[in-house]
């Protein structure tokens, strides 16, 4: 390192160290600016993913049905179809098999299903009591419960009458199931009873495929349509349909939300950048005397410019690094508090906010330095 560069660094470090209070003010402004930039941009990019997960509270947004009216969906077909959906986006799927049964001589529809999976595809189900945990337990829709007078903990007798057989009018021996919970949804689900597949096989005395498979997929409507197509291509037995009510509304609300965060970020960002710029201007402007002195000692405009600019860039760099870290911490706090999940680290946001703070600081120090260097040193030193 030659003497000139050594001097250069000495001047910069000493100017920062000696003017500590002013530099802290400038640094603080830059840090706040960079924090807001990196924090809000991180949130902006993470909102669709995080909010999308919230929208899965609406439950299934895609359903598989059988494409032929004679054949039900087979387990293999469903597994093959589900494979076509990226595992990271598939929140869960629940197959259903429907059979007409009778309870207390009243006709009721019984659904065989994978009860734990309904927690994902139908998270909005309100169950008085609890969802069935083992075979022999049944979840009864509220309407059915009112109809047959069933209460939680009681046992109900479920009988099956094969629609293909002649009804001989004889009382059949049914299967006793314990009511583990009463289901309230405010919708048609209240008109069914839900049991495990093995219980339904016991009741009907035969195995069969699925009538419907509900899937909850965390993705955009366009992607969902693509998946539906590839599922249908993969297995001809499956007809995959989107639950448009859920998918299209979700898309609309998510877009609105993201553009809200975007505009807010843009407005806040422009304002903070102006704040950083005014602070830098003020900090540099008071050093006119110093600039005058240097000029009087024979420093060229270019060398003064270079030195002050490097100071600004250094300040911007340090502020940018600290700010991006704080911004990420802020985004993480938001994410944990709002969505109770961690945020994805995106290195490009760190680079972006670092570059932005360096450029803004550099540019905003350029203007006052230029005006200071243009003035006659004698005038500045005289104090006018």
């Amino acid at each position: 390192m030659n003497a000139k560069t050594k001097m250069f660094f000495k001047m910069i470090t000493s100017s920062i160290l000696k003017r500590r209070s002013r530099m802290i003010i400038a640094l603080l402004a830059i840090i706040v600016g960079a924090t807001i930039l990196s924090g809000l941009v991180t949130i902006y990019y993470d909102v669709p993913r995080q909010m999308g997960a919230q929208f899965r509270n609406y439950g299934a947004n895609m359903i598989f049905t059988s494409s032929s009216s004679d054949a039900k969906l087979t387990d293999e077909a469903v597994k093959e179809g589900v494979k076509k959906i990226p595992a990271a986006e598939l929140k869960g799927y629940t197959p259903y098999r429907y059979e007409a049964v009778r309870i207390n001589k009243q006709p009721v529809i019984a659904a065989g299903t994978d009860i734990p999976a309904t927690l994902v595809t139908s998270p909005y189900w309100f169950v008085e009591g609890k969802r069935p945990e083992k075979d022999g337990e049944v979840l009864v829709g509220k309407t059915v419960a009112d109809l047959i007078g069933a209460r939680v903990g009681e046992s109900i007798n479920v009988q099956y009458y094969d629609p293909d057989e002649e009804d001989d009018g004889l009382e059949k021996e049914g299967v006793d199931l314990t009511v583990s919970g009463i289901l309230e949804t405010g919708s048609t689900e209240e008109e069914y009873i839900y049991a495990s597949f093995s219980d339904l096989e016991l009741i009907t005395g035969k195995t069969a495929g699925y009538d419907v498979v509900e899937l909850s997929v965390s993705s955009t409507e366009a992607n969902l349509e693509k998946y539906a197509k590839s599922v249908e291509d993969a297995n001809a037995l499956i007809t995959a349909r989107l639950v448009t009510r859920v998918t299209s509304s979700e898309g609309a609300v998510l877009t609105k939300l993201q553009s809200l965060v975007f505009i807010v970020t843009a407005v806040v960002l422009v304002l903070t950048m102006i704040c950083v710029a005014t602070t830098m201007t003020a900090v540099i402007a008071e050093r006119r005397k110093e600039i005058g002195l240097r000029k009087a000692l024979g420093a060229s405009n270019a060398s003064i410019m270079k030195e002050f600019l490097s100071e600004g860039v250094l300040l911007g760099g340090v502020g940018g690094v600290l700010g991006s870290v704080f911004g990420f911490v802020f985004a993480e706090i938001v994410s944990v508090n709002v969505f109770s999940g961690s945020i994805t680290f995106r290195p490009f946001i760190l680079v972006l906010s670092l570059l932005a703070s360096i450029v803004v600081t550099g540019l905003s120090s350029l203007i006052p330095i230029r005006s200071a260097t243009e003035i006659d040193p004698a005038l500045i030193l005289k104090g006018e």
């Binding site: 529809i109 405010g186 809200l260 807010v264």
Partner: protein
Amino acid sequence: MFFFRMIKGAYVRQWKKMLVIAVTVALGASIATAMLNVMLDVGDKINQELKAYGANINVVSRSASVLSNLYEIEGDDEVNVDSYLKEKDVGKIKTIFWAFNITDFAPVMESSVTVNGKKYKAVGTWFNHHLELDTGESVDTGVINLRSWWKIKSGEWINEQSSDLKEVMIGSNFAEKENLSVGAVMTVTGKKGGGDYKVRAVYSSGDAADDTFYMPMSEIQKLSGTEGYVKKIEVSALTTPDNELAVKAAKNPDQLSRAEYDLWYCTAYVSSICYQIQEVIPNSVATAYRQIAESEGEILDKTQLLMTLITILSLIGAALGISNLVTSSVMERAGEIGLMKAVGAKNSQIIFLILTEIFITAIIGAVAGYFMGFGFAQVIGRTVFGSAIDMKGMIAFIVAVLILGVTLIGSLPAIRLMLRLRPSEVLHGR
């Protein structure tokens, strides 16, 4: 008088610096104003957006038969009017305490009919119905807004006001099965009559409605002989997310204490809106459509929390920006203050002078900033939600307190420094 001359002098000589302070304060104030307004209004706005999911409350008759719902076992000839609601009661929904929160509603009637020799379930409803209420107000409501997810593949929505009512909108699956398209005429035969209907539109809904068709309410009542009756009413209401009180009340409102009951009744919980609907419509049961009601609450809460945190960050940013600038601008004036001290000014006089200057500047900046923030909030509202943000007067007060507080705090460290200045040192140029 001398005091005013000093202040006037400061503004005349240092107008540039004062302008920078005023601009920074204005920017800070505008961030605060815009963000606070957006934050307080975002709940309502998102709630409106979530209405795209359709109805969240379903009203049926208390004695509606479970069996007919499940198996369509309807008395073939006799219409059991007990299981229906009266159409003339439908408008009463708009007279409940939370009437303002009811965004849309439409009665629905279903009946099995025959088309081309095959049995189908036809749905009758209001499309864009004009309703004169007993209170003298009039409402336009109908299913158009309650089915915003429908994609109209061809044709257009039935217009009850202009077109004649012999029209139907058919689902895409139904259209395919019966090979019908827009403009075609189909014969529909119900229990009590029949008629020819022109296909006005083909829609795709992604659910069971694709297999059926929709027609005006009065027409289906003629076909099924249920004039004046509807099967259910779909209601879309803006609701407040449930809390413990709402859950408790939903089980049994009679268990609440008087104070709890009043609080619950006067809050737009979905359960209290349901309760109020049951009060005005005789013989009705209103139930929340959980899939919609629950998820809406979640999403609303999250959005509001998100906006609150973003607002706090922006406020901190604005506050630091302002106090930073105030600090540095006061520090700059060391020389001037030294001179004042040298000619015998007291500390208190100097502080009063400087604070007055700064506060005049801050107030000018804050007022300008408030109106700028007003503008920003409207820009955000217009671009994102397509509607104006509701401005609350309370915010002007909050912003004023915030700006004055921040300015004062920003001047404190500088003032402390000033008091410690020795005039001789400053004037000597150190």
